[in-house]
């Protein structure tokens, strides 16, 4: 029997999945598998010594407290924010919709830099409150502050996913509920349960990202697994101990990644266009305005304003930017290269997951969530472990290893966004082309890519923005003579050069926001020209 019609371009899909495995799965997998080979330094004994000690309980407790606190706070902020965006018809919502996403373009360590300064014993907050309380009120270290900072940085993930859930609800279901019960009860009984899997996916996402974050707990002086892994590796170059330390963290993260995967049942947690969910509306509300203002203030304006205040006079910017010209250049090309290179395989993987169906498709979808569990430092160590050998020095010795490490870090995120983009394309639109003209190339070029363009532009921006903020893996693999902006910022942080660090941080934010604005402008122009709906939200 002949093979029949299949929309999947087999060779590019296979290549994309292979790239994903080689970059994101293989380095840490080989590192951990090394424990089972006696000739390796990664012996099971090392794992036993590193994992089974009392310090592990402290690390586990700290890691879970920081990540749990961040997730809880993110849930409160993100769900409320999404509800206001999805259900309010006020004029200011279109501005709030954009403002609510801005924290994603401020790397978490820059959020941390601002808040650590603000809550420092001689920082502006304690200085202002000292006359009233007779001393410093807040501490700029500890689990609470780390959780707060991570929530400020990551809560937009919950906003975006909950918004997707709220927009996916069929309006008639809400209308039916509103006819039978009060709006509050309809929200509690119908709307919230239907949007809950999406909101949970966002919360779990925040939890996993917070668990694997290294920079924020480090700056808040909290010993978590990622911090311990970094210290172990950079002070003793003990790959085996670092890998062993990562195991409990990865086990927790993997379990959470599985929960995300199960909760969504293959649905994307981000939508680019949706028409549902307009039954229950929020009328003009002072509480909504207040919430929006306070959340934007705390998550975007306060950190940015503090960095501006710390950066000092304009002459300092000129001096700092001149001195860091190379780092800007490295970060900019690395971000563009990473964003572009990640979007291509991400698109083909997303397409395969959306169209192939069956067990293979489900396995590919599960594979995408796997690397979320791997901390940046382990990605770096895994890369060194795999590529630092005689035959592959051309990769390890140059910029290629940095590009690969960045790709390993951003590819899973970019793929998730691409999945949402591809998932929004009605398969019948492709079938109509297949009947009329046939050919994978034409179908992709004339139908699929133009329809996915806004989503793929968003995927590119996510890739570029994450690459711009990447520190953990870059620190591990960076070759001599090359430094990125985040790495320079991170190095200077420990020397207390706050004015230079703040100026560089603002430069980095400007770079991220302008890349997002550029992509937004392209999407807007595309939507105008093509006459169909663009990116939403």
């Amino acid at each position: 029997m002949p093979r029949g019609y299949s929309p999947i371009p087999r060779a590019p899909s296979l290549a994309a999945v292979s790239i994903f495995i080689v970059l994101c799965v293989l380095p840490p997998a080989l590192m951990f598998l090394g424990a089972f080979f006696p000739e390796s330094d990664f012996t099971l004994e090392k794992y036993r010594l590193a994992i089974l000690n009392s310090r592990q309980l402290v690390l586990l407790g700290n890691s879970l407290a920081v990540a749990g606190g961040a997730a809880l706070l993110s849930a409160c902020l993100g769900v409320t924010s999404a509800f206001i965006i999805a259900r309010s018809k006020a004029r200011w919502i279109k501005y709030y919709k954009v403002a609510a996403l801005v924290p994603l373009f401020i790397p978490p360590y820059l959020h941390a830099l601002a808040w650590v300064h603000l809550f420092g014993s001689k920082g502006p907050v304690n200085q202002a409150l000292a006359p009233l309380f007779g001393g410093p009120v807040f501490s700029n270290t500890g689990i609470g502050l780390a959780a707060w900072i991570l929530a400020m940085a990551y809560h937009p993930f919950v906003t975006v996913s909950t918004y997707a859930g709220l927009r996916s609800i069929t309006p008639s279901l809400e209308d039916a509920a509103l006819l039978a019960m009060s709006p509050a009860r309809a929200a509690y009984k119908v709307i919230i349960p239907m949007a809950a899997p999406y909101a949970l996916a966002g919360v779990f996402f925040t939890l996993v990202l917070s668990l694997t974050n290294y920079a924020v707990p480090d700056l808040c002086l909290v010993r978590t697994y990622p911090v311990e892994i970094f210290i172990n590796f950079s002070s003793h170059y003990d790959e085996a101990a670092a890998a062993a330390l990562a195991l409990p963290l990865m086990a927790i993260s993997l379990a959470l990644a599985y929960v995300i995967y199960r909760a969504l049942r293959g649905r994307p947690f981000w939508v680019f266009s949706a028409s549902g969910g307009t039954g229950l509306e929020i009328g003009p509300s002072r509480a909504a305005v207040l919430f929006a203002l306070v959340s934007v203030l705390l998550a975007s304006i306060v950190p940015a304003a503090d960095l501006i205040a710390q950066a000092g006079d304009p002459a300092n910017y000129v001096k700092t930017f001149k001195a860091a010209g190379q780092e800007f250049l490295h970060s900019a090309w690395l971000a563009v290269t990473t964003g572009a290179l990640a979007t291509i395989p991400a698109f083909f993987i997303a397409y395969y997951v959306a169209r192939a169906g069956g067990k293979a498709s489900r396995a590919a979808a599960a594979l995408i969530y796997l690397p979320f569990a791997i901390p940046a430092t382990i990605v770096g160590i895994g890369m060194i472990h795999l590529w630092n050998r005689p035959g592959t020095y051309f990769i390890y010795g140059g910029v290629l290893i940095v590009v690969m490490a960045h790709l390993a870090r951003v590819l899973p995120f970019v793929t998730v966004v691409a999945m949402a983009a591809v998932g929004g394309v009605n398969p019948a639109l492709e079938e109509a082309y297949s009947i009329l003209r046939g050919g994978n190339l034409g179908r992709m070029a004339r139908i699929v890519l133009p329809l996915c363009a806004p989503g793929l532009a968003a995927a590119f921006v996510v890739g570029a923005a994450l690459s711009l903020g990447e520190v953990g893996a870059t620190l591990m693999v960076m070759p001599p003579g090359m430094e990125t902006l985040p790495v320079r910022i991170y190095s200077l942080l420990h020397y207390g050069a706050s004015d230079t660090v703040s100026a560089l941080g603002l430069g980095l934010i400007a770079l991220s926001v302008s890349s997002a604005a550029l992509a937004g402008a392209i999407v807007y122009a595309h939507a105008k020209l093509s006459g169909h709906k663009g990116l939403d939200p």
Partner: protein
């Protein structure tokens, strides 16, 4: 050569369930056969199998003397020369009405000429530069029809093409389809669950249930006393109308 469509022993299973169970159906050239049946009867799958969008496990499909499926032969959808109207019309939101038709032709000049001709024929002459989002329901329907016949297909396949239309638009659209069938002698296989559509359009009616084709013939034969009980029951609304 008459554009007949001959389907033999078409069988397709998915998820452990038989969606099509040995379907045999012959549609003569220029004839309009309406496939009727309740939801889940396998009507759409039959249409998709004829178009080549799904792969049957067994069976043959032959049209106008050419084998589309059977043995080692499997002809790709675009080489089958079928026109397909999807239930949701599947109009491309990023292409104009003119581009919907021109896309069917590799030669851009030919595409433009053909688009102008077809848009004129379907009463869309002044809508060539418009996107589907700015067309009315009836205009969208006609654009879908124009696209389906752009390459002068041997067989026209229609999946519940009137389901989203109000009574007035539905009547006009059905008139279009009838005229197309009469003037161009297209062989039409139209799927619906609406018995009244079948009564108004069909030369012959095929009734399906649970993947099996239960009866096929002129409507009056299927409503006769000796017809299959399910068929008689399903066609009761039009039989009772007289």
């Amino acid at each position: 050569m008459q554009n007949y469509l001959d389907i033999k022993d078409l069988t397709l299973s998915a998820g452990g369930r038989e969606i099509l169970s040995g379907v045999n159906l012959r549609v003569e050239g220029g004839e309009m056969t309406v496939v009727l049946g309740p939801s889940g009867a396998g009507k759409t799958t039959l249409l998709r199998a004829v178009a080549g969008l799904v792969r049957p496990d067994r069976g043959t499909i032959e049209a106008a003397g050419r084998v589309w499926l059977g043995g080692d032969v499997w002809v790709a959808p675009h080489s089958r020369r079928v026109g397909f109207i999807f239930q949701d019309l599947a109009l491309w939101p990023h292409l104009t009405a003119g581009e919907h038709i021109a896309l069917a032709f590799a030669d851009k000049k030919v595409g433009r000429e053909k688009a102008a001709e077809l848009l004129e024929r379907f009463g869309l002459a002044d809508k060539g530069g418009r996107y589907p989002s700015s067309l009315s329901g009836g205009e969208k329907q006609r654009l879908a029809l124009a696209r389906a016949v752009a390459r002068d297909p041997e067989v026209l396949l229609m999946d519940e093409p009137f389901s989203g239309l109000d009574w007035r638009l539905k009547k006009a659209a059905m008139q279009y389809v009838r005229e197309l069938n009469r003037d161009k002698k297209y062989t039409v296989l139209l799927v619906t669950h609406d018995q009244l559509e079948a009564r108004d359009l069909a030369d012959k009616v095929a009734v399906m249930n649970r993947g099996a084709l239960l009866a096929h013939g002129p409507l009056r034969d299927l409503t006769a006393r000796d017809a299959h009980p399910f068929v008689r029951d399903f066609l009761a609304p039009i039989r009772d109308e007289g």
